[in-house]
C-alpha cells in the first residue's frame, strides 16, 4: 500500500527523539508539581523528583493565600485585570486594525503596513524605558493604566489578523453583503467576525500569554506592591529570602508558581481547537 499523509509512516527514531523532547520539556513541570507538595524544610533535604516528607500541598496552598495578609489573591486579581483589559483590548484593536488593513483600500495603507511590520521586530523590553519616561510625563506611572495601555498595542497580533482576514474572508462575500444593504459595522459584526473567530482566538491567546508573563514593564512601572501582577509578586517573594531580615519562603514561591500556571494551562487546553485551526489558516489556498 502506498504511503500517504493520511497514514503516516512510523519511525522508531523519530518516536524516541520526540519522546525524549517531551520528557525534557515536562521535566521542570514535574519537578514543580512534586516540589509543591513539600514543606520548606523538605525542599532542600530531599531528591527533587520524588515526593518526600509530609504531603503539604494543601497547607502550602492555604499559606500562599494567607501569607502577608493574603496579598497573593490581590496579585491574582490584578493579573486578571491586566489580562482582561490589556490582552482583551489588544485583541480587539488588532482584530479591527487587521481587518481594516486587509479589506479596505485607502491612502497610506502601505505605509501603515510597513510600520506594523517594523514594529513587530522591536522587542517590548527595548521600549520599556522610553514608555516609562513618557508615562511619567503624563503622571500615569504606578497606576494600573501604566501596564494596561502599553499592552493594548500588539503589532504582531495585528499582522496575524491582517493575514488571517485576507485569507478567511472572501471579498465577494463582503460585496454581497453591501449589495444587500448591510452597513460596514453590521457586515463586520454579523459576518466577518464569525469567520475571523479562530484568528481572534489565536491572537487573544498570544496576548493573554504575553500579558500573563509580562515582567519587565510592570517591574519598572509599578512601585506599589498592591498593584503587582503575579510574575512580579512571586519574584518579590523569592527576593524576600535575600539579605537582612531574610525570610525564605521557597515553598510558597513554588506553590504560587503552580497556581500561577494553572489558568494558562487551562486556557490553552480549552481553546486548543480554535488556535490550531487559526495557526494553520492561510497555509493552504482553498
Amino acid at each position: 500500500m502506498a504511503q500517504s499523509f493520511a497514514q503516516p509512516r512510523r519511525s522508531v527514531i523519530l518516536t524516541v527523539l520526540m519522546a525524549g523532547l517531551v520528557a525534557y520539556s515536562l521535566f521542570p513541570l514535574l519537578w514543580l508539581l512534586i516540589s509543591a507538595t513539600k514543606t520548606q524544610d523538605m525542599l532542600g533535604d530531599s531528591f527533587g523528583l520524588l515526593p518526600a516528607g509530609p504531603f503539604a500541598l494543601f497547607d502550602n496552598i492555604a499559606e500562599v493565600f494567607t501569607h502577608q495578609d493574603g496579598i497573593f489573591a490581590r496579585w491574582f486579581g490584578n493579573t486578571i485585570i491586566y489580562v482582561v483589559a490589556g490582552a482583551g483590548g489588544a485583541t480587539l484593536l488588532a482584530t479591527l486594525g487587521g481587518y481594516g488593513l486587509a479589506k479596505y483600500r485607502f491612502r497610506g495603507r502601505a505605509a501603515i503596513f510597513a510600520t506594523v511590520l517594523g514594529a513587530v521586530a522591536v522587542p517590548g523590553t527595548a521600549l520599556a524605558v522610553p514608555t516609562f519616561l513618557m508615562f511619567s510625563e503624563i503622571g500615569l506611572t504606578n497606576t494600573m493604566w501604566s501596564v494596561i495601555l502599553p499592552t493594548l498595542v500588539s503589532p504582531f497580533g495585528m499582522y496575524l489578523m491582517w493575514v488571517f482576514a485576507s485569507e478567511a474572508i472572501p471579498t465577494e462575500l463582503l460585496e454581497a453583503a453591501r449589495v444587500d444593504g448591510a452597513g460596514e459595522w453590521r457586515t463586520f459584526f454579523t459576518i466577518s467576525l464569525r469567520l475571523l473567530a479562530p484568528g481572534v482566538v489565536t491572537v487573544g491567546l498570544f496576548a493573554i500569554v504575553a500579558t500573563w508573563n509580562n515582567y519587565f514593564l510592570p517591574l519598572i512601572m509599578l512601585s506599589d506592591r498592591e498593584l503587582y501582577p503575579l510574575a512580579i509578586g512571586l519574584a518579590s517573594w523569592n527576593a524576600d529570602a535575600v539579605g537582612i531580615g531574610a525570610a525564605p519562603v521557597f515553598h510558597l514561591v513554588i506553590t504560587g508558581a503552580v497556581i500561577t500556571i494553572l489558568p494558562i494551562v487551562a486556557v490553552f487546553l480549552l481553546l486548543q481547537r480554535y488556535w490550531q485551526s487559526g495557526l494553520s489558516a492561510g497555509g493552504v489556498k482553498g
Binding site: D41, L43, G44, D45, Q68, T125, A128, V129, F132, L133, F135, S136, G139, T141, N142, Y215, F216, L219, I220, M221, L222, S223, D224, R225, A235, S236, N238, A239, D240, A241, V242, G243, I244, G245, A246, A247, P248, F250
Partner: protein, 449 residues
C-alpha cells in the same frame, strides 16, 4: 540569585539611565548638588508632628510595622503609609523611577549605605542639616555616620549596622579538629584541613556574584579602592589593602577551598542547616537569618571576631542601611519628624532591636541588656558582645562608588570569573576597574584609574 541576575542587571541599567535623565533635568536648576530644603527647627518639627498628617514610608525592614504602630501611638494625629519594597536593586529602581516621575515619591525611604552616594551626588536627597540633624552625630557609630554624612551634608540617619564577624559551625569544627581562626592565614589553613578531612564540606562559600561581600572584605583589609570627591572619582583596585585581600582569596581559589553554592538560594540555606558550609564571614545582622533559614542547625553555630591580617582588630560594615528623605517628598517637615523618631528615638530603636534588628547607635550597642543577651540559637553564647565589639573596630574612610549598584552588577563578569577559571584575582580586579572607569566616564564623571 542566578535566575534574577540578568533582570537585576537590566534593572540596574534602567535605573542608571533614568538617573542620567534626572541629572540632565536637574542641571538646569541651581545645581547645588542637593535638595535646597527650607529646613525647620526642632520645635517646628515637634509642632508639625503634634498637628499631624500623613506620610509615605518605603522600607523592607521586617521591623517597620511594629515601629510604625509605636510611632502612631506616640503621635496620634500622624498616619504612616507603609510600602514594603524589596531590598536592594528593586527598591532602588522603584525609588529612582518615582523621583524621576515626580509622582508617588515617598516622604521617607530606606537606602542601603552603599547606595547613598548614588542618590546623593545627583541631588536626589534632602540635606538634613537644615533640620538640625547634624547634631545627632554623637548618637551613631563613626562608620555608619560616615556613610550618611558626606559632601558637607547629612543625607539620612543610620538605621542598622553590619559590622562583620566570623560565624562558624562548632559541631563541624569539633568533628574535624579545626580551631577558630584568628588570622586570615589560619583561616586558609583551616579551610585546607577541612577539605582533607571531609571533602564534602567547605569552610567558605562565595559564588562570585556578590560584590558586597568582597568590597566589605577589601574594606577590612584597609583598602580604599574608591575615592569620591564631588564629580571626581578615583579608582584603585590594586592598592595595598585590596592586594592583601586578593592574596588570601587567591589561595582559597587556587586550592579549590571555596564552595560555589549560590548565596541566598534554597541550596545555600540547606547547606547552612546541614553543615556543608562550616563558616562564613558576614554582617552582624546574620543571626536572625540563621534562625529563620537554618532552623535545624539551632545550637550548633557560634560567633567569633572576624579574622585579621596581623592580629590587630579590624572590621568593616557589611550591608546595613539608612533612611533618607528624597527630593520631592510631599511634606519634608513631617518626614523629618518621622525619620528622627524612627532612627534616633530610643523607643523606636528598642522596638527595632526587640524584633531582631542590629542597631547603629552607640548607646544601644553598649547597653548591658543588649550585650548580656544569651542567644538560644547560638547555644546560649553572648553573641552581641562579639558583634558589638566588631563595630568599634570598623576601619574609617571607606567610600562607595556613585554607581555602586551598576558596578556590583558587572562584578560577576569580571572578578566573579576568577572563582571558576582560577585565574589571577588581580587581573579580575583590573578588569572590573577598567569597566568601571569606562562606565563612570560615560556617566559624565571625571574618573581617574
Amino acid at each position: 540569585m542566578n535566575i534574577t541576575r540578568s533582570t537585576t542587571r537590566v534593572a540596574a541599567a534602567v535605573a542608571t539611565a533614568l538617573l542620567a535623565t534626572t541629572l540632565a533635568a536637574c542641571s538646569g536648576g541651581d545645581g547645588d548638588g542637593g535638595g535646597s530644603a527650607e529646613g525647620a527647627t526642632a520645635e517646628e518639627i515637634e509642632a508639625a508632628l503634634q498637628e499631624g498628617g500623613t506620610i509615605d514610608y518605603w522600607t523592607w525592614t521586617p521591623q517597620a510595622e511594629e515601629q510604625i504602630e509605636a510611632f502612631e501611638a506616640a503621635y496620634p494625629n500622624m498616619t504612616v503609609n507603609l510600602t514594603d519594597t524589596q531590598g536592594g536593586e528593586q527598591h532602588n529602581t522603584a525609588l529612582t523611577n518615582a523621583i524621576a516621575a515626580g509622582e508617588g515619591v515617598p516622604d521617607v525611604a530606606q537606602l542601603e549605605y552603599q547606595s547613598v552616594p548614588q542618590f546623593q551626588l545627583p541631588g536626589l536627597l534632602t540635606d538634613l542639616t537644615a533640620y538640625g540633624f547634624d547634631e545627632h552625630e554623637a548618637l551613631y557609630t563613626p562608620s555608619t555616620w560616615g556613610s550618611v554624612a558626606q559632601d558637607d551634608g547629612v543625607w539620612g540617619l543610620p538605621q542598622d549596622s553590619g559590622p562583620m564577624a566570623l560565624f562558624y559551625n562548632q559541631e563541624v569544627f569539633e568533628a574535624n579538629d579545626l580551631v577558630v581562626p584568628e588570622t586570615w592565614d589560619e583561616f586558609v589553613e583551616q579551610a585546607q584541613k577541612l577539605k582533607q578531612s571531609d571533602p564534602d564540606k567547605f569552610l567558605f562559600n562565595d559564588d562570585g556574584n556578590s560584590a558586597g561581600n568582597v568590597t566589605s572584605l577589601i574594606w577590612q583589609a584597609g583598602g580604599h579602592p574608591f575615592q569620591v570627591d564631588g564629580d571626581t572619582v578615583t579608582l584603585d583596585l590594586a592598592d595595598e589593602g585590596t592586594q592583601k585581600w586578593a592574596g588570601v582569596y587567591q589561595q582559597l581559589i587556587d586550592d579549590d577551598l571555596i564552595s560555589h553554592i549560590t548565596g541566598w538560594s534554597d541550596e545555600w540555606f540547606q547547606a547552612l542547616d546541614d553543615g556543608t558550609i562550616a563558616a562564613m564571614v558576614v554582617g552582624a545582622w546574620m543571626p536572625g537569618v540563621f534562625a529563620d533559614g537554618a532552623p535545624q542547625a539551632s545550637g550548633k553555630w557560634r560567633v567569633a571576631p572576624m579574622p585579621t591580617y596581623d592580629g590587630t582588630p579590624a572590621n568593616a560594615e557589611n550591608g546595613g542601611s539608612s533612611d533618607v528623605i528624597p527630593v520631592g517628598a510631599d511634606d519634608p517637615v513631617l518626614a523629618a519628624g518621622f525619620l528622627q523618631w524612627l532612627n534616633a528615638d530610643p523607643e523606636s530603636i528598642k522596638v527595632f532591636m526587640d524584633a531582631g534588628g542590629f542597631p547603629a547607635t552607640v548607646a544601644e550597642l553598649g547597653a548591658e541588656e543588649f550585650l548580656g543577651y544569651e542567644s538560644p540559637y547560638f547555644g546560649g553564647q553572648k553573641i552581641n558582645e562579639v558583634l558589638a565589639g566588631g563595630a568599634e573596630d570598623v576601619v574609617e574612610g571607606w567610600q562607595y562608588l556613585p554607581w555602586q549598584s551598576y558596578a556590583n552588577s558587572i562584578f560577576p563578569d569580571t572578578v566573579g570569573q576568577v572563582y571558576f577559571d582560577r585565574s589571577s584575582m588581580l587581573d579580575g580586579l583590573a578588569a572590573w576597574q577598567e569597566e568601571n572607569v569606562r562606565y563612570g566616564q560615560e556617566q559624565g564623571f571625571t574618573v581617574n584609574g
